[in-house]
Symmetry: C2
């Protein structure tokens, strides 16, 4: 199978975990996998509905606040609850925690775009009933979250009553004991409108500080012999009751339409009503059909097939499906660290987007990738303002974490100090251009972003003794913060600077008018381009002659080595058990840093340096961040460390499904989902995109029978199939293309497959 | 002259400043120079009474809290207000802000230990009255704060009414706009008892979290022809009213006795009553006499005479007087960064004690210095616990800021990361021993403190390539934080380690029993002593071959130089106008760092290195900290930079009197007060104390006529008089002593003066 994630636990223990795993979303709207009928009072559950980018602002408190520390933080909100439906069988309220659960199964259908629950329940009074819950968040009408419940009596003919609620009195989740979750600030929405009108339940909420508004307009229906309907409004909620005649199966359906002021302006409620009117004749099955169609199309390009390992097959499909559910597809949204599946990291966007997730979309659904880049462009002004606050006269410093642009990180050594995010964003523009050859974007948003980020490096670095040096920043590895000449930062800045020059020269040649427009807009002076070139050419990239490795930063190798072998298991993750200052004092890594740079810009160093560095840093890495395994896995592939490549992949591919980090309850690790795809396509597949084109170097782990994936590249669709004895490239769409296969040029012909056998022989055939 | 600080401003503008300058204290109890009769509503004033170390705990909030961040902070409290006395002339309430102030002068008598106000006032109705306020905080009965008010009619015979209040409803001061002041947490005391009994006003308060209690028991009296007395209690205060017959001068006196649970146990009120009973026959003049006697004795040893500059004479006397008023003299207290004159820095104790203030007492009132050391010893257990929290298995890390021991710093890069405080405390134990030869302290507290601090350096540093290196700490200069091999830290740690070995060897030789006792108590193992020796001998002290200077830390010189010349004046202090990360990125100093190390441990480097370093760092130093000028001044003396020595001294000596940093309102800069004395005695006097004894190298700034000071050293009292053409040493008390005078041995004979003329000739004479 592996199109279905199945969960059969009836107990409460894994409630939170399963809520995250079985969450539904479409990039705009996300709903955790809660039970419609609710829980017992002592159950630990996070009942959540989220709109991407819909947020309030909360105060950040500091014991000592210094200049430039952000005063407030954005926070994604748990919005109006449209999930709730109580069910009564006669006088008995249906609950999984009373009576007896005779059968239970929940599942998420990744090919069909819905989740369901089957239950056979015997009530305390002995009445036996079958219940079938289905729910979906529509990919085609983004505002829609629909629930369908079928109740079938087994040994009785009691009336069945549905009590459906739309509740505006909602709060965010708080866990004061975990610094990774917000503390305080739970109640952020006030109810401003509650009505039952024209058969619709209407609830409208407003956020306290941002005044952003959200509305839920809900239509319900039953299929039953006969029923009595009633509605009732309180100050904060609307309740609808259907008391249905007993004896036969009855079906209840609920269509919630969520609108917000970000996307729908002030006519929130009117838009919600209009959506309901348009959908008036739509049945739940119609929505299911539309989901299927949408997903058929999605999987036809995005699917990755692993033959011979059902668990990993589930892992990669789950990753791709959750990425699709989480990624913003409108100009207001990006992709949160936890997607739309939970409240961890406040719904913020990080560098995770550019380095871990955007590449998946870039190579499969480039329009979505472009939207992510445009979202970054939309916050360029914030990034410029942030640079000014930090004391830089020019340039753009993208926020380490944000929703609509303002820096929301409260601990700058592992936040704002990660200047590399600006180079990461530049890098992903460059990758996008190389994959799509989108000249339009290059001349406009990309040029501007590259110029402004290049300027930042000139501000933050300086020439000394013939080297361009960058001091006091933090690289990806947050276990050493505020260091000088972090290799990752420097090499990424070099790339950023070099490409800013390249784009400038390109515009000089190709579009002088546009260049003059940009120069005027950004007040760019000619000498700046010379500075960029000088900085790029003389960038200091720390290298240790003795170990023949790139040094993580220019003091890293003189620190004491952390004794990971003798650190007790319960002391991991280290950041929860050691003061940061103590961590900073040691050679110890939370996650890939130099090794990640070697993945992103492999041509900067010799293979020997890359190998030595890998061997050196791997021993010192705790992988306390979920962003780490996949990078070590990818580079293991490159270096021919096959066992390692495979075992790192396993850690990545099922990180959430197996709750490896123990905190999936707060939401899914979206970057690791992207990393799962990268592990396959850039790892086992060896994919790199550079100026000279696409290169691949596929190999197959020995206990697999086959691996297949598809790539979009410059208007082509390429299918790659890897087997133990052969590799098959199929150019499904688009013109002939020369790629690099294991270091050699290979011509892929349009509409043909190219089979390369283990013995080196090659065959071509029409498809 | 110059025994009196006079202030004649009648306006409200300098109210806050003068409240700090004219504050009174005795090391236990401090009262700001407020007006008894109060202010207008819009006046900016901080009405404050403080008991050294009397504190509550407040929560520290963090946007992101990481492991080992302190959860709470101690905060000294503004206690029960005993200052208030309203005065009515007929029906008109006396106020400096109504009617007409015909004469006004306030002064602080540094030789007599009290403050006074003379006022001639014409009421709105035209009644003219002379008022004379005097107040003192007793040096001999530490609980006592007394006020004496004489009211003399000039052109009327209206009755005069005194309304005296003791008010338990008090709060701390808050300024949300200044990160250097506390934000929030203003109301920390609850009133638990209010009574008027046996002619005494009694108010008792309890702190919310610590449950520490304070009581004020107040006795009042009038001298008047006839009067009517009444008393009245509210929930939080007691009021006493004396309505006195008019026509002649009347005098009101108020004796407030403050007790607290730290010093007086639970019998707070009873002790307050007992103090009042013992003082029943004491008049205000008796207290004045006792103050005079106490101060005569103090000044006979501590005074410094500057002939030829009244302003600087005032500056040094003011410094010494305020140090005396602020320094704790019981086992519960140390000396706060702002003394007892204000609430800045929450009443916390810093390294300021050891490096800037303790030396003054050590050389003049060694018993007070010893008390400061014993206070540190009393928090050694906290320091050991703090080291464990930070991840160190052994050793003691003294808190960067604290009252009774717990770390209270909320921004660790410029707080906890300043590990050097542990070496600073060790340094001051060593200095104390060299000055006093107190073997008892050496064998007990000093040995233990040296062992535990030495252990810390082994934990925090490591041997690499033959060097002992200390990574990820912050030196005194908070404009570069979390650096590797800060010269100051390393050289101070070296001294700490070397002396730990020395004391260990001494005990091995002299007192094996005590050593075994200590070894048992501290679980010290023999190999640790070898480790200390190895670390001390191989300590890495960064030195730059090209510039021939000690590098502030091992990356400092590769950073970009801050362009101080082109930084606008309004951008200082830099920390209020630039993000810390930006400051960290540059060669720019808030205060002396390497230069301070060269003062404290001058024999570690050649005079050329010291000179080159001074020249280099001086250009990069903003002196944004008040701890900076004096160090540069002292080292200017050493290097023969006479103009600089003099001008830095001027900045130091009148820092508060001239409000040079603009924040004297929050309290006096006590460390700068100590620095003023150091500038003279270690600067112009050239005082150093080392294992080979006392050395001096006096010289006189050219526009002075003479300079005199006294020193206590190993049971001797030495007077030093510096004139343009001669230097006179007088050994007033104690046995003959050989000192080093400008690098040469000089025998001082008991009871004789030694005169050294400019031409080199020498004379000796009986005194």
């Amino acid at each position: 199978m592996a199109w279905k994630v199945i969960k059969s636990e009836k107990d409460l223990k894994n409630l939170l975990l399963n809520e995250s795993l079985l969450s539904l979303g479409n990039g705009y709207l996300g709903v955790r996998g809660n039970f419609e009928e609710g829980y017992t009072e002592d159950a630990k559950t996070i009942r959540g509905t989220y709109l991407n980018a819909f947020h309030d602002e909360t105060e950040i408190k500091y014991g000592e606040r210094l200049h430039g520390f952000p005063l407030t933080q954005q926070k994604v909100l748990n919005v109006i609850d449209g999930q709730s439906v109580d069910i009564y069988i006669g006088d008995e309220r249906f609950s999984l925690f009373e009576g007896e659960v005779l059968e239970f199964e929940r599942s998420l259908h990744m090919d069909r775009g819905f989740a369901e629950r089957f239950i056979r329940w015997r009530s305390p009074e002995g009445l036996e009933t079958k219940l079938h819950f289905r729910r979906l968040v529509s990919f085609t009408v983004k505002e829609l979250f629909a629930i369908n419940i079928r109740v079938e009596p087994v040994n009785h003919s009691e009336p069945v009553t549905f009590v459906s609620t739309v509740d505006g009195d909602v709060s965010n989740y708080v866990d004061v004991n975990d610094p990774r979750l917000a503390s305080g600030h739970s109640k952020r929405l006030n109810v401003t409108d509650v009505r039952h009108e024209h058969g619709l339940s209407i609830v409208r909420d407003m956020a306290m500080i941002t005044n952003l508004e959200v509305a839920c307009v809900t239509a319900t229906a039953v299929e039953a012999g006969a029923y009595i309907f009633a509605s009732h409004s309180t100050d904060t909620s609307v309740q609808e009751t259907y008391e249905c005649e007993g004896g036969e199966a009855v079906t209840f359906t609920k269509f919630n339409a969520y609108t917000d002021t970000l996307r729908h302006g002030n006519a929130l409620v009117e838009t919600g009503i209009a959506i309901q009117n348009l959908q008036r004749d739509t049945k739940f099955n119609d929505l299911l059909r539309a989901q299927r169609e949408y997903l058929d199309h999605f999987w036809s390009v995005s699917d990755v097939e692993i033959d011979g390992d059902a668990e990993l097959q589930e892992g990669i499909r789950f990753s791709l499906y959750q990425l699709l559910q989480s990624v913003g597809k409108d100009p207001f949204s990006n992709i949160s660290a936890k997607g739309l599946s939970g409240e961890g990291y406040e719904g913020h966007y990080f560098w995770d987007t550019e380095i871990y997730m955007l590449p998946v979309f870039l190579m499969t659904q480039p329009a979505i990738a472009k939207n992510l880049l445009l979202h970054r462009y939309s916050i360029l002004e914030n990034a410029k303002m942030r640079a000014r606050v930090m004391g830089h006269e020019k340039g753009a410093l993208f926020p380490w974490r944000t929703i609509t642009g303002p820096e929301s990180s409260a601990y700058f050594p592992a936040g704002t100090a990660q200047y590399h995010i600006s180079a990461d964003i530049a890098y992903s523009y460059i990758q996008y251009y190389l994959v799509t050859k989108d000249e339009e974007l290059l001349r406009n948003e990309m040029a501007e972003v590259l110029f402004e980020t290049a300027r930042l490096w000139i501000e933050v670095g300086h020439m000394q003794d013939g080297q361009f040096r960058i001091d006091s920043v933090t690289g990806p590895d947050e276990y050493t913060c505020i260091v000088n000449n972090n290799y990752y930062t420097n090499v990424m800045a070099k790339h950023n600077l070099a490409w800013a020059v390249k784009v400038y020269r390109y515009l000089e040649r190709e579009d002088d008018k546009q260049l003059r427009k940009l120069e005027k807009k950004t007040r760019l002076e000619k000498h700046e381009v010379t500075d960029w070139q000088e900085a790029a050419e003389n960038m200091f990239l720390p290298y240790d002659e003795k170990l023949k490795i790139n040094e993580q930063d220019d003091s890293f190798l003189r620190k004491k080595r952390w004794d990971l072998g003798n650190t007790p298991k319960e002391k991991f993750p280290l950041l929860l058990h050691y003061h940061p200052l103590t961590l900073y004092r040691y050679q110890v890594l939370k996650q890939a840093d130099t090794v990640l740079a070697h993945f992103l810009l492999e041509d900067e160093e010799s293979i020997e340096t890359i190998r030595n560095s890998y061997d050196y840093y791997e021993e010192l890495t705790t992988h306390d961040s979920s962003l780490s395994y996949c990078v070590y896995g990818i580079m293991a592939s490159k270096l021919g460390y096959k066992d390692k490549a495979y075992s790192y992949f396993k850690e990545t591919a099922r990180l959430d499904l197996d709750n490896i980090h123990g905190n999936t309850k707060d939401g899914l690790h979206m970057a690791s989902m992207g990393g799962t795809w990268l592990s396959i396509v850039s790892g086992f597949g060896g994919l790199r995109v550079k100026e000279d084109g696409l290169s691949l170097a596929p190999w197959l782990p020995e206990n697999w029978n086959g691996l297949g994936f598809r790539l979009r590249f410059q208007d082509r669709l390429i299918k790659v199939r890897v087997e133990q004895n052969r590799i098959i490239y199929t150019l499904i769409e688009g013109k002939d293309l020369t790629i690099t296969h294991h270091g050699r040029e290979l011509l892929l012909e349009s509409g043909r497959e190219t089979v390369i056998h283990r013995n080196g022989s090659m065959q071509k055939a029409l498809i």
